[in-house]
Symmetry: C2
Subunit: 382 residues, 2 copies
């Protein structure tokens, strides 16, 4: 095994763990918190609940809600000015990937200056960030665990990946009770996002023994618990999805991802599509492409999905991919790209694939793709 | 699942990862390092190698080697004075559990003052510690990952457990190349120590999904790789033991341990015995005691040890424990207490068990023992 790094935040996990947010903020030295969230989380009552918890510990806050889905460069830069102008000392986000990635972007600009695009790519942030605590309200994005931050560069219409160890927050709070206020669609999209993280991290060229066990655990838990989480909304099943999401995030944060996420970043940047919508369309197609290069690992994944091995590795891998397609189909999600993009925009696929091939996630795909091969994958699922 | 915490250091793992010690120290802000080690590690050449690595990065150091096996309160208190008198700013230890626990104790006193016994128990350290980087030279103690520090109180002849989240070091470097310079005895004792960590963490009453997967992985790797590591000294097998040790440490640091470690602390404090010597004697006896209270979990462990399930849970659990006894026997380690203590000291068992029942590790044992029950266990393996 090559030399590998494994870094995760301190994780506070469990039903009601949100109640510990105040004590955790105190431990980070909080006197005046920048609180980041969005209107959906506000409406569900979680922002007010968090404010009450902070108040109980005597912690002051200023609230920044200028966050949209797929957060943009200007939102991050405005947020950083807001943080600095208000003399805040700790950043707390509550929400899905968007508020959490916004919080990370704000942290970068607040202590490093400049514009967020200056930090695109790997390891380009030099100064330490303000203390950060992230509270996820979904079981999927993994931003609360990971060293990734995805921000849209509006001018270039691209989702930038910013990857650096200092983006791992100090504390991550994962409270499955919050999932109870989420829609069925969001639960499915989040779980599919976590599943894609787990699978691409497992086949990554820099996966390690530490990330591999997390990946397989996550895949197993999602296959077993997403159906009951959707059907019954049982807290037990939702909790298992939360565990899966944390495990998948530990894996991808340290092993990175692959070609499917590279495409998801480019498609998402151009068409403002959520990852959870893109994965059921592209994930199995990329897995088929990766059979050459990662057959053994895809067989491991197949074994977890199927619950048993078949004869040869190739057979298990392929049967697992087919079973995964069937799994997606049971949730009635779109599995064709044209249903999400529309015929009139098909000509954008070429520049999107030409951009995707330069995404940092391509570097760890087990089979290095050309942009033409990425285009073939998109056409296969058109 | 109850609310649970999961905290580990940043881990740099792999063959040659020691070479990153200088860069990591710089990241911690090191200008003058307190280097802690012992004469065995010195003789093997690792202290000099580490000094050369620090020198290359322009980092100054002072060296403290006042460490014995089962480190003592006075050694820690002397080390803290040495750290302060020399104006050091980062603590680095290279060694097994003894130098690493000494480094942790020094860190506590250096920033919190007082005597080390003031911090015995859980969560009694209030001020932040100096940055710490720990480099393990064994695959067992787990001190480089854990929030535990075990120091002998000489006056009371007891091993004190000091447990607090701030004892998780900033960075842990695990380089399997270092294991190549270790004796067969040390490799066996360390692996047995890791195995006991994994098993007691798995049956702990505060085990979580995050610690359980680490425990089972560690057990599997040790059962599969200790024989070849001892027979062939192959680097592949040694590396797998290193992975197992890290996994077991992530588990026990966050799930704590049980009655077997409580006894090991008291016996070790009184007779200056290494954990790796005590576990083959006591571990399976405590597992049998825990059958009432943790049958299902011991069956999971049995399944990993045996490679398959038997009919009922009780049967699998029991067969696993028996197989574990056979496993220990193949390494020709002592499995009887009298061989280590001697008939003339048998009367010490009663006060030792009366002390052990108050050890913090007893709190998470799946079946709460009385001191009389602990004594029965000791007599059973006499």
């Amino acid at each position: 095994m090559d030399i590998t790094k494994f870094a995760i935040p301190e994780i506070i996990f469990g039903r009601g763990s949100l109640d510990y947010a105040g004590q955790c903020a105190l431990r980070l030295g909080a006197k005046k918190v920048l609180l980041v969230s969005d209107s959906g989380i506000e409406k569900a009552g979680w922002v007010q609940k968090l404010m009450d918890i902070l108040k109980k510990e005597g912690i002051d806050w200023v609230y920044y809600s200028g966050v949209t889905s797929n957060p943009r460069d200007i939102e991050v830069e405005q947020g950083a000015r807001f943080y600095l102008n208000n003399g805040a000392d700790v950043i707390i986000a509550i929400g899905g990937g968007s508020p959490m990635d916004t919080a990370k972007g704000i942290a970068i600009i607040a202590s490093n200056g400049g514009r967020i695009r200056d930090y695109e790519g790997a390891n380009r942030v030099s100064r330490p960030l303000p203390p950060m605590m992230l509270i996820t309200t979904t079981a999927g994005s993994g931003s609360d665990i990971s060293q990734f931050c995805i921000i849209t560069d509006v001018e270039r219409a691209v989702k930038m990946s910013i990857i650096t160890r200092t983006l791992v927050p100090n504390i991550s709070i994962v409270d499955p009770l919050i999932l109870q206020t989420k829609s069925e669609t969001l639960i499915i999209q989040s779980a599919v996002d976590a599943l894609a993280h787990a699978i691409e991290a497992y086949t990554s060229t820099i996966a390690s023994a530490f990330t591999e066990m997390q990946s397989l655990k996550a895949i197993d838990l999602i296959i077993k618990n997403l159906p009951c989480a959707v059907e019954t909304r049982s807290l037990d099943c939702l909790e298992q999805l939360s565990i899966a999401s944390v495990a998948a995030s530990m894996a991808f944060s340290n092993a990175s991802l692959g070609a499917e996420h590279a495409l998801a970043h480019s498609l998402g940047g151009h068409f403002d599509m959520r990852h959870g919508v893109i994965h059921p369309i592209l994930l199995t197609a990329v897995m088929r492409f990766n059979l050459q290069g990662a057959e053994g690992k895809l067989a491991d994944i197949g074994q977890v999905i199927l619950g048993h091995k078949l004869g040869a590795a190739h057979e298990t891998a392929l049967a697992g991919i087919e079973k995964l397609d069937e799994f997606f189909a049971t949730f009635k999600v779109s599995q064709r790209l044209r249903q999400e993009i529309g015929e009139e925009d098909k000509h954008f696929l070429k520049p999107i694939c030409q951009m995707a091939v330069n995404d940092a996630c391509v570097l760890t795909n087990p089979r290095p793709p050309s942009w033409q091969e990425l285009l073939s994958i998109c056409e296969e699922v058109w």
